[in-house]
Symmetry: C2
């Protein structure tokens, strides 16, 4: 190990809140941060590529933890739920993104200095097919 990473928990990333980090919930939060006025359930479902049941389940978790509000109403005489990020949810999500940036930076630096890598950055061409 190098001197710089001898610290306990150097790569533990405690800030990766499990409520946010789950893939589907990360999709939901990214969709909602991109739409500050909120999104109707069907639009959110489509952006996240989730089923009704899955999206409902994850929204319940996010609502319980005060990340989102779910407002029931009507649009064109049909019932509609609009999902919005709360101010606190937005703040915590931005904190989480800072940790995620750190993960990418740590790993990219390490990968670049590895023996098999001759290039800079995370070239999309290296993605598995």
């Amino acid at each position: 190990m190098t001197a710089s990473d001898r610290d306990d928990g150097r790569f533990s990333y405690e800030g990766l809140d499990r409520v946010i980090h789950e893939r589907a919930r990360l999709s939901v939060l990214t969709s909602l941060v991109a739409h500050p006025k909120g999104l109707p359930f069907p639009d959110l479902k489509r952006l996240c590529g989730l089923t009704d049941g899955n999206l409902s389940r994850h929204l319940a978790v996010l609502s319980e933890a005060d990340f989102v509000t779910l407002q029931k109403g009507f649009a064109q005489n049909r019932p509609q739920t609009v999902c919005r990020l709360t101010a606190s949810g937005r703040q915590r999500f931005i904190g989480y993104l800072g940790v995620l940036e750190q993960v990418v930076r740590d790993a990219a630096e390490a990968a670049e200095s590895g023996p098999e890598s001759g290039r800079r950055g995370l070239d999309p061409a290296t993605k598995p097919a």
Copy 2:
């Protein structure tokens, strides 16, 4: 929604492989990509801030999916397991990091254009205390 994100699954991030994405395993993989020659179990445990049992469990998952190899040997007459990233594991982890970069980019762009934000980038000062 804007024209650019009308696509189905725009924010679904299918590339976030669940084997990699789990927080503890993300710690393990980042630690190992930073140490191409491998790490003894106790060093890896310390860097990731994990217990013996937790690290063993996650290494079993990663080994099963051919991300890591676990080599048992001796150091100073004591048994020692050295953990290393496989070439395929390294490649898949780099692909995953590309998707993670995309998440950060998508969310940072969205957060910057939000109504409450007057600054650029993910300022660490916005992290919750």
